[in-house]
Point group: C2
Chain length 110, copies 2
């Protein structure tokens, strides 16, 4: 008997919506998500070139947080020089369709 509500406890931190907004919020995370969704696994420098305007600080920090949140997987190849590839986890992939809907809603309504 699921009630037709978004947040049962308004203001509570248990709200799933707040959690989601927390992990994809901020200025850059959805852009990183977009980039990797479009282009598949990407290297650090590739991401920096693709996402116009992002700095080392923000890219590194965002990737680290998204990795911790289980959205991004980091794979390091100990070659010379070092190569690191970032890719979306299945969890992140499963969120993308919903974000697509939101995107389409935004384009239709804003």
């Amino acid at each position: 008997m699921t009630k037709d509500v978004i947040c049962e406890t308004v203001g509570g931190d248990g709200c799933g919506l707040k959690k989601v907004l927390d992990i994809i919020g901020g200025k850059w995370k959805i852009l990183i998500l977009c980039a990797m969704k479009n282009q598949g696994p990407m290297r650090y420098g590739q991401l920096r070139k693709t996402i116009v305007g992002i700095t080392n600080t923000m890219l590194a920090q965002s990737l680290k947080e998204m990795n911790k949140d289980g959205l991004v997987q980091r794979k390091q190849y100990d070659e010379m020089p070092v190569r690191v590839e970032y890719s979306l986890t299945p969890k992140a992939e499963s969120m993308v369709p919903i974000l697509m809907e939101l995107k389409e809603w935004g384009e239709a309504n804003l």
Copy 2:
């Protein structure tokens, strides 16, 4: 031939997803959305009591912006004392199901 992408131009402001996140972003707007979705039209003071922790500044500011963005309708009754009721617009209502999906995703995955 819609491509399976979220943002065509990564970093561009034209992205519908960014627009949506802009109008429901911040600390309080989704909570306001939640409150009104759950309880229907609400008065100012009612909102302030329901949304634990919100201040006059933030509530008034958020409502004004959401009204400008077409998410919230303001109806003023010139009684004594003044009574004002806020309600969700059809546009906002149409966004709610998508937010519900995100919420459920968050609860299942976070």
